[in-house]
Symmetry: C2
Subunit: 338 residues, 2 copies
Amino acid sequence: MRATMIHAPGDIRVENRPDPVITDPTDAVVRTVATCVCGSDLWAYRGIEPVDEPHPMGHEYVGVVEETGAGVTSVRPGQLVIGSFATSDNTCPNCLAGYQSACLNGEFMTTCQAEYVRVPQAQGTLVPVADGAADELLPSLLTLSDVMGTGWYAAKAAEVRPGSTAVVVGDGAVGLCGVIAAGELGAERVIAMSRHQARQELAAEFGATDIVAERGEEGVERVRELTGGIGADSVLECVGTGESMRQALRSTRPGGNVGFVGLPHGVAIDGQELFFSHVGLRGGPAPVRAYLPELIQRVLDGRIEPGRVFDLTLPLEEVAEGYRAMDERRAVKTLLRP
Amino acid sequence: MRATMIHAPGDIRVENRPDPVITDPTDAVVRTVATCVCGSDLWAYRGIEPVDEPHPMGHEYVGVVEETGAGVTSVRPGQLVIGSFATSDNTCPNCLAGYQSACLNGEFMTTCQAEYVRVPQAQGTLVPVADGAADELLPSLLTLSDVMGTGWYAAKAAEVRPGSTAVVVGDGAVGLCGVIAAGELGAERVIAMSRHQARQELAAEFGATDIVAERGEEGVERVRELTGGIGADSVLECVGTGESMRQALRSTRPGGNVGFVGLPHGVAIDGQELFFSHVGLRGGPAPVRAYLPELIQRVLDGRIEPGRVFDLTLPLEEVAEGYRAMDERRAVKTLLRP
């Protein structure tokens, strides 16, 4: 099959690789219908995460079941399925507590920018999409594999409630999906922090009621002005830098909550500042699996259109250009068609 | 009046000071019936917080209203009252959100180890105790001014729920009160971390079901053994050091919560470790005011006896010995009778 490999920072190639096969009875092999490039893939692309040796890339997919192991009864060949970037048996204590991304038998997917993918723990991981989903819904369904589920978790972790005020720090695909999530969870006011016009416009179409272009302390001040001097009830931190985390914490009212989903790079949280802020903080790799059934339904119902975060669609063969466009911020997110 | 002053680390004196008077119409003057020494007072006593010039000490009190300003109608002279270590108008947005310790018009009390104390924002701050409370309940009522309310907040911030498992890190007065709080909020299992026999015994009498004497990574391992390898639902961090915070975070299951109430000294939380832990974290100076009515009732009903954390009672004149005994860990907490 054709599959994406990274050889070094900036060096993305599509190569011939062995077709994946069932190795455990809990596996399935899925033929990808659509896959994509994640903002987090850029950490390696930019050399911020080391690339010690060539390795496959990609953790988001929607596809058709090709084959299942003997222990997999919940999906069958031919079904259109979505799986999270993190596999999960959906039966361990962490899964039962709603944290499938901390499954005791789980792992992170790493080979999905390819024609085929082996999915471990397929029984717990894969969720079928009802037959006959229109092809135009595929981009939105694909976002449920990561970014839309991650934005949803950010809003849940930030405890967005009906009538509340939410701030979204970060205007990447996850942040934009966070805007959708905050609105769906009932936030009356959704303040999107963005300085890029196209992203501001999409945020507004996704339901943002206010746009704040300022960053850092100025951004915090602006949020405070918009929230009676107190700060927001909920802040979704969708970047992962020390600056964005500080901005998120300082934009939150005492007793409010920050949900952080940007993988932190070099972030240290000052204990005393967190203490006096009275802000609640929860983050982590999103338990996307928990949200798949309801989010699939919202997409099928046409209630949410997170697929609009894809502003570049390329054949898998041109994946390198997909990375480059995101790295240069010419694209929010690249969809790949194998 | 007689009042406690700190002149330098280790140098605590009782001196003649001017009687406090009403300076704002929102003030009250309270004659203290009992006051005490807090673990946090030891930060200055030990020189960990600088003592730039002599200043009064103390933030916990139960007493009788002596005089009220013109704007105070909720309490009257002669009433027995309790106030939090933090004053609050109880009407600002932060107060209404349940975070009275972040009151926009609040301040921290600092002069309570004395015969009289001026209480700002008395209308919102002071809560009267029903007439006729037995003298033997005074120690328990006094704890509601800080340590019992702080333990209660730790349990609330850690989201202790009926049937859950809670761990308490720290066997000082706050930790011991946290054991009470976890039980009152319905925890089925309360694991107290303590290596001091007398404190272990009191923790058990307060409702701890398990005692863990190990610390650090060994302590974490022991908690994991007791919780099916997963970690506890809720952990109350009642110390405030980097080590105790790490221990708390690592003892919590994915999706669980840490409530931290020990004032952090030199604590930096690693963003990436917090991220992958999926642990929710909330701390801060406890909004004790929010809990006073229900906690007073529990004391009057004889349902809780947090006053048992006082294992040394001295006349105010001997306050220096009260500090010394706590510093040398000969006493958990010292009650002072003016």
